[in-house]
């Protein structure tokens, strides 16, 4: 499944599928983001979401991530500093997902 902003790469060599997001995630495109997350989670009991190239995300994205984490083991790749990491720690999403930071 490919999409301009949200890409999914299939699971391989015992690694879970990876959803890579770029740009802004907000109310305008959160449904697309959710659809990609759900289809990645459908065939796997774990997924990784790479947010390292996301420029902005808000409450809508946090809700979508909580929703997918309710049924799937969630791993997140996020920039070590910046608004996304702040959002994860305010919401406590970092306590139920495995967070890996990148520079």
């Amino acid at each position: 499944m490919t999409n301009s902003q949200f890409r999914m790469s299939a699971a391989e060599a015992e690694q879970p599928p990876v959803v890579t997001a770029t740009g802004d995630i907000d109310l305008a495109n959160v449904n697309e983001f959710s659809d990609v997350l759900n289809s990645a989670a459908a065939d796997s009991d774990a997924i990784t979401v790479d947010l390292s190239d996301v420029t902005y995300c808000d409450s809508a994205a946090v809700r979508a991530l909580f929703a997918v984490a309710a049924t799937t083991k969630l791993g997140l790749i996020v920039p070590a500093r910046g608004p996304i990491m702040t959002l994860l720690s305010i919401s406590g999403l970092d306590r139920v997902a495995t967070v890996v930071t990148c520079d």
Binding site: S59, R63, A67, A69, I90, S91, G92, R95, V96
Partner: protein
């Protein structure tokens, strides 16, 4: 909601409508929900004020040790609401989910659990928040003053609780007895109970009763104030040994 969240020790739906009220009000609560909401909003922090402030879902695995709210501890809740002593010991996690249902109007659904909150807890609350927001939008659309009425009821609840407390202290009775005295006096003097409660609090304290700054503050008329004076005088003269 309670049947779905089996580990819930408390639930609270809090609304904050900046058009009518500077302060958030608890619209409905179960278990320790109301007292937990009041404690968090009093300044010690917690998932509820953070969900209101940042407009994101907030989850905690273990409230009392969560580093985000160092003042939110078992000891502080015990001293604020000792009547829930046994419940506070069982509290572990919590989650709060905000929603916006009108310009400047926020609702937060918050639950307190006897085990760590999970992403599934947040997912359930998201569903409920959508239902609650939809109900509020419909209510507001049908009757613009309905939301103001809800806030008036919440507001008078505070005065009624204060009046009951004063009566319990004066007559040395329990809350149920104080409530019956208030209700009987309101019937005998033919005045509204919530106005009588405000008048009584103002008569005892000699100052305006504390009320949130809403569009329609409760202002008891002269007849109600006189009823409150008579009621307080009659009770004050009653000898303790009857």
């Amino acid at each position: 909601m309670q049947s779905d969240l089996l580990d819930a020790v408390g639930l609270a739906i809090t609304i904050h409508d900046k058009r009518y009220d500077e302060h958030p009000s608890v619209l409905a609560a179960l278990g320790v929900g109301a007292d937990f909401a009041a404690a968090q909003l009093s300044g010690i922090g917690g998932p509820l004020p953070d969900a209101l402030a940042y407009q994101v879902p907030v989850l905690s695995l273990d409230l009392w040790t969560d580093d985000r709210w160092p003042e939110l501890t078992l000891a502080s809740l015990r001293s604020r609401a000792p009547q829930h002593e046994s419940s506070w010991e069982h509290v572990r996690g919590a989650a709060a989910v905000p929603g916006v249902w009108a310009d400047d109007a926020t609702v937060v659904v918050c639950c307190t659990l006897s085990q760590p909150a999970s992403a599934a807890t947040v997912a359930s609350l998201i569903t409920y928040e959508q239902l609650v927001s939809a109900a509020l939008i419909i209510t507001a659309a049908e009757n613009a003053s309905a939301i103001a009425d809800i806030i008036t009821v919440l507001q008078s609840r505070g005065a009624i609780e204060q009046a009951k407390g004063a009566l319990m202290g004066l007559v040395r009775c329990d809350a149920e007895h104080a409530w019956r005295m208030l209700r009987r006096a309101s019937q005998e003097f033919n005045v509204k109970l919530r106005e009588l409660a405000v008048a009584l609090v103002e008569h005892i304290s000699g100052a305006p009763a504390e009320q949130p700054d809403t569009g329609t503050p409760i202002r008891p008329d002269e007849r109600t104030c006189e009823a409150a004076r008579l009621m307080w005088a009659a009770l004050s003269e009653t000898p303790l040994a009857q």
